[in-house]
Symmetry: C2
Subunit: 360 residues, 2 copies
């Protein structure tokens, strides 16, 4: 039986694979002369963030103020919160955090957020550094490239408590790329959109900060980028496998699960459902990749059930254990208080997910 | 501003609405002479389970052994774990739990599980009560109705440490019902399938235990049912709204969220993404119901972003707060360590989600 000391479902993380993934993306950034600022949303854990810094990362990225507070408590002192923050409760916390760490950056795309952040900067007695987010195709947050982004950035000068330190984007369409050529074309368009704003502002000092793992693989081919903020690369997942950016062996984090039911010949059920694997969809359908058994389809999830479907060649037994690579590893890890570090098939350590539950 | 003392995203639960929902389903069960054994997976919280027991529930249902342990620690002593359990670690915990509570039931659909549960019963020196699960159409776990279920139940007599106490189903297709007639037809077929097995076994004492909220609304019209295990009814959600089983005002649990970006006229972004609302889909599309604004569509979720789309008649402001009813409330609550009880728009208490994170 796999990992008899662990009960299922749980998350195991192969630390040898993690170290290889961390070194690989760091080396790509180093070769391109780009700062790496890994997004901690994937692991939400000081253990892994420390590994990333020790490998050469320039700082870390967080999605939430609460995650940044957890990381600051663990000693990290150069943090980008890549998220627009607003509201009096958050501003009080942000001010306290800014007093605690060496460098704190926040992203924004509205004057409402600029105004409250400026108030924090004024109370601090120094300008808070901000990144303006540019919408390079995801159509989520961010100002439209060109005139809108340019005018927005110029308008930020009216807010005395903040200072524009960079332009930031999050690669949306790259996740839909069908080929390496697609991916590269998306990435180059993304960077070009930000460089045009930077040039229009006449601010050669501005960082050009790009998000997501796909573009982190391409920083050597996208001149102009100065900072890369990948998250998923550290663990890998089925989405990266689908893009050809990770093989099964590169996926360090797996949900360890047990077959609990096998009522008919072509269907079995495991104890990892949407409360373990998360419900994120995948363009090829299915809800995860069963390690070593590509012929088994994770056809459906309910909360605590993963329904596996397969043909006559597959034999599974109630009580058997499997490893499943989630479609999207970040929300899966977020469902666990801790993950288990393994090497060579042995559990070597238990790792707390400090940022989990820090929803605000 | 809504609930200024709370930071977002968080879950608020209107306790007046909860009490009404609890009374309503309890009254339906009482009128039909059916035992109510609410599924705690929705709230995972002793606070709400206690409310259900005080209203007349006969016991509780849990999805996981870890949830049952959390409930036992909070004083509950009549627990069904509606899940097949296997593996030495779980058997040791199950034995300890069985010694602790007055009554413990476990469901199963395989002889592999029967064997290990029988071992627990033998170590306890008394038979462990089990429910055999019948697959009434969900095609997840459960034996096929008719000969397969009948033969399976007869075979359970070979295991001296367990005693068959009932037949259990989980209503699958009811979630897809297009009308009340559909719903009733599905429910009656489900019950008929189990009654045929009960009759075939010649065991008039067997419980007929049905799952899910839709059938809990119909227990008065499905004679033969002796136990009902609804979960979602206590909070309500967009799925129940879609089935016509809850109005907006019946949905007690909402994710309180803040508009953080509004980059273009027809799109805004809130700070509730898939790590707050969960990613469960809805047959009508969309990822949640914005309270009081049915014209606003929760079009897409990423981890920390909910993308709202709307027409020219809608005005939203960065910093404004909204309440969103999740598609599926159970996985949403599972993303928070605590929820906030409110009455008349005021926060009255903080409620710990004890079962969250008890994944095994």
């Amino acid at each position: 039986m796999l990992y008899p000391a662990l009960d299922t479902p749980c998350v195991i993380v192969d630390l040898d694979v993690v170290e290889r993934n961390v070194r690989r993306i760091q080396a790509l950034a180093d070769a391109a002369g780009v700062k790496l600022r890994p997004h901690t949303k994937t692991h939400k854990s000081a253990f892994f963030a420390r590994m990333q810094l020790e490998a050469g990362a320039a700082g870390i990225t967080c999605a939430k103020l609460g995650e940044a507070e957890a990381m600051a408590a663990a000693g990290f002192d150069d943090i980008l919160i890549a998220y627009p923050l607003i509201g009096p409760l958050k501003m009080a916390r942000l001010e306290a955090l800014a007093r605690r760490v060496k460098r704190l950056l926040v992203s924004l795309d509205s004057y409402e957020v600029a105004e409250v952040l400026s108030g924090v900067g004024q109370r601090l007695g120094r300008q808070l550094e901000v990144y303006a987010e540019v919408d390079t195709g995801l159509h989520r947050v961010g100002r439209a490239p060109g005139e809108d982004a340019l005018a927005f950035c110029r308008g930020l000068e009216r807010f005395p408590g903040i200072r524009l330190a960079g332009l930031m984007s999050h690669a949306g369409p790259t996740w839909k790329a069908g080929s390496h050529e697609d991916l590269l074309a998306f990435a180059r368009a993304e960077v070009a959109a930000m460089l045009a704003v930077k040039e229009g502002l006449g601010r050669p000092d501005l960082e050009i900060s790009v998000g997501a793992t796909p573009i982190a693989h391409l920083v050597g081919e996208t001149p102009g980028v100065t900072e890369s903020r990948p998250g998923t690369y550290i663990f890998g997942d089925r989405s990266l496998m689908g893009l050809g950016l990770a093989a099964e062996a590169d996926c360090a984090a797996r949900v360890l699960t047990t077959v609990v039911s096998h009522p008919v010949l072509d269907r079995a059920v495991v104890d990892a459902g949407s409360k373990s694997l998360a419900m994120d969809s995948h363009r090829d359908g299915g809800h995860g990749h069963v390690v070593g058994m590509p012929e088994v389809r994770v056809a459906r999830l309910s909360e605590e059930h993963g329904v596996l479907e397969f043909g006559p060649g597959t034999a599974l037994q109630v009580g058997a254990r499997l490893e499943i690579i989630p479609n999207h590893v970040c929300p899966a890890v977020n469902l666990f208080d801790r993950v288990y570090g393994v090497r060579d098939g042995q559990v070597v350590t238990e790792i707390v997910v400090e940022g989990r539950g820090k929803n605000t």
